[in-house]
């Protein structure tokens, strides 16, 4: 039995690259922040990585990665054959292993076709180890296209009931509407990332705890990202927060990337760091 499993694992590794979808169902939970930081984290570890913005019409990934002024061609141009992939890919200036494929700000999201996306992913897989698909919010066409070819899924959830419910819905869609599901292959590997976590609000009963969320979704936890001003600052200045090694959120993202690559690490930033007085008198 163990030999059989090992054999299956070996086959997995033989595939050239892994397609990772960052998804959630709900908006504003940190998908783009996660895509940018995970992409940068994997690239810093020496893996050729590309991050694709699937949020056609509401592109943001280029802003968070600080390359918005270098966008010439985009994902839709490539799908429509109006530009070569190499013309549209933007190489990150801080880490040359990282590239970005920006979304179109002007096109309609229906321009994303199953065949078109498949072709672009196949071409990217030739020289990238990880292809990260930054999904738009919702469960509409754009989100379905982002997850269709995925091998792995990182479901980003905030510790609140509605976000957890939407993530659960998205997990159901991952299990039934992906290419892997349609071809009856091994299902997408699903991971949970809990973001905007605020331990002191959990203590006050205003948020669900890590354990609550994990009990409801029963998934492997890839990381807990604390609610942090540094995330906002980083996004505004076009620097993925993972590069802010001083901040708790940046460190949490580094842990998350290591866990994705197979390291076992204890969860950090999940308990209230303020002292008892802070808890008694703090707001």
């Amino acid at each position: 039995m163990i030999g059989g499993l090992g054999h299956l694992g070996l086959q997995e590794d033989l595939s050239l690259s892994r397609v990772i979808v960052i998804t959630s169902g709900k908006g504003g939970v940190g998908k783009t922040t996660t895509s940018a930081s995970m992409g940068m984290g994997l690239a810093q570890k020496g893996h050729r990585t590309v991050v694709i913005d699937f949020d056609v019409g509401l592109r943001n990934l280029d802003l968070v990665l600080g390359c918005e002024r270098r966008v010439v061609y985009d994902f839709i141009n490539v799908i429509n054959g109006e530009a070569h992939l190499n013309q549209a890919l933007i190489r990150d200036k801080r880490c040359n292993k990282l590239s970005v494929l920006p979304a179109s700000q002007t096109r309609d999201k229906d321009a994303l076709s199953v065949e078109g996306v498949g072709q672009v992913l196949e071409e990217l897989s030739k020289d990238h180890e990880y292809i990260i698909c930054d999904s738009p919010a919702g469960i509409e066409h754009g989100a379905l296209m982002a997850m269709y070819y995925a091998d792995d899924a990182v479901v980003v959830t905030n510790p609140e009931v509605s976000s957890v419910r939407d993530s659960d819905r998205m997990l159901g869609i991952l299990a039934s509407k992906s290419q892997r599901a349609e071809q009856n292959r091994e299902p997408i590997t699903e991971y949970l990332l809990l973001s905007r976590y605020s331990p002191n609000r959990v203590v006050r009963g205003e948020m669900l705890s890590v354990a609550d969320v994990q009990e409801i979704l029963s998934l492997k936890m890839l990381g807990v990202i604390p609610e942090s001003q540094s995330v906002l600052n980083a996004s505004n200045s076009g620097i993925p927060v993972i590069l802010d090694t001083q901040s708790d959120a940046g460190q949490a993202y580094q842990d998350m990337v290591k866990r994705y690559l197979g390291e076992e690490l204890p969860m950090r930033f999940t308990s209230d760091k303020r002292g008892m007085f802070g808890r008694l008198f703090g707001g």
Binding site: R165, D168, G172, S176, N184, E186, E215, I216, S218
Partner: protein, 263 residues
């Protein structure tokens, strides 16, 4: 209450959708091809239950023929069945020659998946094959983590689901029991013609005996359901006593009243 079987429509503009559904069809198994003997015996069967065969789609099964490559006049056979009010829709088993002839009569070739089971079934010339109706979307969740097992739940009239049933997913076990060994999320729906067993936390909606089987029961280890129903008698979570939350219970009908009992 009725159970809506269709998944929600995407938008009003959608003109059609393609789904998988399966139906229970009578199978006419032939052991010999003497039309006279067939007509005689069919006559007797139809007289016993005329309503059963009126406008009934039937499948012709040749897998039990004494002579596997016997000459069969398909036009006569189809005409014979039509004469008794049946609507032959497909062929199961038979030689290449039979299948070509059936094709010429616009009969569909049905897959032979359960013919082994049929052979073990009672020796009658009409028997009923129970096949499974599985919503396309749901079929994917069946035994996904072990492809070797795929289909076992479908064959024997009971269905086993080992992955969590997520919000928005529906699982329907036609003709039998449904067992879920993982969590059932709120917003998920389980339906079965028979009993439903849930070994993970139950937070969704559960409908046992949806075709009116009042003997059907629901068994669960951790009751947090939004709604439970047996044969149309239902209770929403608001009306489930607080002391039963998280309890291990069975839910059944007694004198047309839904009972939830810890055990």
């Amino acid at each position: 209450m009725t159970v809506a079987m269709e998944s929600e429509r995407e938008s009003a503009a959608t003109a059609l959708e393609i789904k998988a559904a399966a139906f229970t069809l009578p199978v006419i198994r032939l052991f010999q091809v003497d039309m006279g003997a067939l007509a005689e015996q069919l006559q007797a069967k139809v007289e016993q239950a005329p309503d059963l065969f009126a406008h009934a789609p039937v499948v012709i099964d040749l897998s039990g023929l004494d002579d596997p490559d016997a000459d069969i006049s398909f036009p006569r056979l189809v005409g014979l069945l039509r004469g008794y009010g049946m609507l032959p829709v497909g062929l199961r088993g038979g030689s290449m020659r039979h299948q070509e002839a059936a094709h010429g009569m616009a009969l569909a070739l049905m897959s032979d998946g359960s013919s082994r089971r049929m052979r073990e079934a009672a020796n009658g010339d009409a028997s009923v094959a129970v096949t499974h109706a599985i919503n396309l979307q749901i079929g994917r969740t069946q035994n996904q983590d072990d492809p070797m097992d795929a289909g076992i739940g479908l064959e024997v009239g009971s269905t086993l689901i080992r992955r969590p049933v997520r919000s928005g997913q529906k699982v329907y076990a036609a003709g039998g029991d449904l067992t879920v060994t993982a969590a059932v999320s709120s917003g998920a729906e389980l339906m079965a013609d028979g009993n439903i067993h849930i070994y993970g936390p139950l937070r969704g909606r559960v409908f046992a005996g949806i075709k009116g089987n009042t003997k059907a029961r629901i068994f669960c280890q951790d009751l947090q359901a939004e709604l439970v129903a047996v044969a149309g008698h239902y209770r929403v979570s608001e009306n489930i006593p607080l002391k039963l939350k998280h309890a291990r219970v069975q839910i059944f009908l007694e004198k047309h009243k839904l009972r939830i009992e810890p055990f």
